[in-house]
Symmetry: C2
Subunit: 465 residues, 2 copies
């Protein structure tokens, strides 16, 4: 047997494992998953026809009510640069656009879905918001992602993936619709360059459920992209709420290759929220929430007079701690208006949020790394401290199972946190203590721990806002 | 009471009658109906996506099967001048185009139906076949008409006027679809100038049947146009077959303002075929047939390899006698191909047909008119004769109920035809006789007969083809 053949066979064998494993026998992320977790914050821009109807959005009603006149789509001052810049100012490294949402209207020049920007008078039927958006992402060094809604289509008559009706005509239209979806996925995956993520809202039924075969088209066109999600594949998991937070611990691993049918809906989505430390599949959670989610509102789309529902900065910081700081990436929902701009109050809040994250975490007293069971950070002097940030090198998987952080105070070693999961990042705020050194003790791990970051902060919370 | 007010009231009173009547108490046509009957021959051009699919058309299947890729619409050499010229050469004075047929695809730049020429790559999404077609009609002095199919829509999911399904979503989409239809009718009735006829295929359900309100939009935009048809209004009636013929007699009057629910489907459409001589409503029949209807075929749309099914000239002449010659207008179906042209064999046959009609009927031995009960045409000499053509002046309604035509031969007056209905036109061929004069005797009429034309011909049928 030639070496070449041997290498080929070995390669095949590794490929067959589906998700590669490291010598510590823990699942490790793909490059796309790694990019996703390193991004930490993403924005999703929801934009659809009903932004232009001047009415309150009602998802249950809207998804089964076609928009009367699609020519209301007329964002005269569309400026996707402004959108992406605002997201970037908050710290988002990825930005996602709803190429289609529940109306079925496509924000680009589709050759397979006539209900798209070709149909409207805006820009003489030549507009392409997806194109503009991706270009703006490239300009601002933000990775572009695309959201595709195929589960509902108020125009074509799609109800939870299915064509309305129950006869041969229905079957024919289902076949046509599935093909239309495949065509749109082909267009969106092939026309705009490399994408960080493709997000099928509510999942994308695969052929085994009577739906289109979107996965093979995705895989052919976007080998380095995160796929989210259906029964066949899901490269990350929903964190079980739209609060922008997950509880602790939130493990990045799961028991099945796709979590989509094991969400635990009846169990308050606990499997999604917590994950499984010994799960064989790397599948990190994400936290998502709309920026306009304050005070009883929860708006993924722009509506008039909703500025008062932009989350205050303190809420956003809490969200950050409980998402990025709990080993998930945070997706914040942003709402461009009918004029084509992200409203100024949102832009300002995002900028303030980014500044505050920067203020708190850009200047650690000390930041070290290591792969021993005990890592000690000796502070330059006795310091008041109140935050630690821990990161594992997740290229090597989530290894830590149990740990302790202690600060050396006048009265000896004092426990700062006794934890389990670290994963990509754990942010832990605590009451001020004065310490001269801080140590991380890995009490239990799979293989050798790989601590990428052990950082200690003194954050001035009095003057924060 | 002022004269002006009196005139206004009289006018109102006449208007309220719905269909005006003449002093002979017979219904008379509107100007649009008069134009229609004077045209005698019309062409209807069927053009839709499946012309481009290279497959045999199967109406039952096609109307419930969306076309896979609407970008197959690509008539590279579209030449509507050539279409209309060919129809005109046959003698058609009106030409009708299917602006939409059963796919639901609109052959123009619709702002309310995205499934239209805006969606395709052909002419960079700027094509408008309706516009081109109407322009060609004006150029060739042919009156344009528009055919609108709203009963079926394989794309949107319309089955016999109804949105598929049975729930609130269905209701919402039905509302939207009705509105879309109204929008299309508004566009088609307002963008292209005066039309001779608008033809709603299979009728247009009105609001009383859960359908759109197309009639008021039509009436607002096209006061001088023939409306065909729904339960509310029908300015002509179908002749009860697609053979291009009606039996004799075929009266131009009917018992109800709209015949649509009194077709007599179970009675072989006899009410439509014969009409009612004492019907209170002027509503002439039409005969329709596709040019490619020979030898077991019946093709309203172009298909490859169908040239052998173009009706031979003799069949077309028989059709002419039994349609135009039986007091109906004839609509001949023409089939432009995927290249955008009417195929040459069809063009040639149409030209030959027009020439043959011209050859037979352009040179009467004598042609006279009159309003007496006996009208005698004295021939310049003893002549072999074999055709007569009779026309009433239908501006004054169909008055004749019974008549006789006799030729004076060596052996005395010989009956050529004993008939009932004349109406707009009766063509009667008969075996050669040699006569020195021919007389028309009106045996029964409503009021004074108004004979516009009493013409006698010697047609050489030996050398006809």
């Amino acid at each position: 047997m030639s070496i070449r053949l041997l290498v080929s066979i070995s390669f095949l064998f590794i490929s067959f494992l589906g998700y590669a494993q490291d010598p510590a026998k823990v699942p490790i992320p793909t490059q796309a998953q790694l990019n996703w977790q390193n991004a930490e914050m993403a924005a999703v821009f929801h934009y659809d026809l009903h932004v232009f109807d001047g009415k309150k959005y009602n998802q249950r009603k809207n998804r089964i009510t076609p928009i009367e006149d699609y020519n209301i789509f007329n964002p005269k001052n569309l400026d996707t640069d402004q959108w992406v810049k605002a997201a970037s100012d908050a710290g988002c490294k990825i930005a996602i656009l709803t190429a289609t949402h529940e109306t079925g209207f496509a924000l680009y020049q589709s050759d397979v879905n006539p209900y798209c920007l070709k149909a409207v008078n805006w820009r003489d039927g030549k507009g392409d918001v997806v194109k503009d958006f991706v270009k703006s992402c490239r300009k601002h060094d933000v990775l572009p992602g695309i959201y595709i809604g195929i589960r509902w289509n108020s125009f074509f008559g799609i109800h939870d993936f299915e064509v309305q009706g129950n006869n041969l005509f229905t079957e024919n239209r289902q076949h046509f619709y599935n093909q239309m979806c495949e065509g749109m996925v082909e267009e969106l995956m092939s026309r705009y360059g490399e994408l960080a993520i493709v997000w099928f809202d509510g999942g994308a039924h695969g052929p085994e459920q009577g739906g289109p075969d979107v996965l093979s088209i995705f895989e052919k066109n976007q080998p380095n992209c995160l796929f989210y999600h259906n029964l066949q594949r899901a490269d990350m998991r929903w964190g079980g709420s739209e609060s922008g937070t997950v509880p602790y611990p939130c493990w990045g691993t799961f028991t099945h290759a796709s979590w989509f049918d094991r969400r635990g809906d009846q169990d308050d989505f606990k499997p999604l929220k917590y994950g499984f430390p010994d799960g064989a599949f790397y599948c990190p959670a994400m936290s998502d929430a709309p920026l306009r989610g304050y005070n009883g509102r929860h708006e993924w789309f722009w509506e008039p007079g909703d500025e008062a529902h932009i989350y205050p900065l303190q809420n956003l910081m809490n969200m950050y701690y409980n998402s990025v700081g709990h080993n998930t990436s945070l997706i914040i929902g942003l709402t461009p208006d009918a004029n084509g701009l992200l409203p100024e109050p949102d832009v300002k809040r995002l900028k303030a949020w980014g500044n505050e994250i920067e203020r708190r975490f850009s200047n650690p007293i000390i930041s070290i790394s290591g792969n021993k069971n005990v890592i000690t950070a000796n502070l330059p002097a006795r310091k008041i401290i109140n935050h630690i940030v821990l990161m594992e090198d997740i290229r090597k998987g989530e290894r830590v199972r149990k740990f302790l952080v202690e600060g050396k105070t006048d009265s000896g070693w004092q426990t700062v946190i006794e934890g389990t999961c670290i994963g990509h990042k754990l942010i832990h705020p605590f009451d001020n203590i004065t310490a001269s050194s801080v140590r991380l003790r890995i009490l239990e791990s799979k293989g050798e721990p790989e601590i990428l970051k052990f950082a200690i902060y003194q954050v001035d919370l009095e003057s924060e806002f």
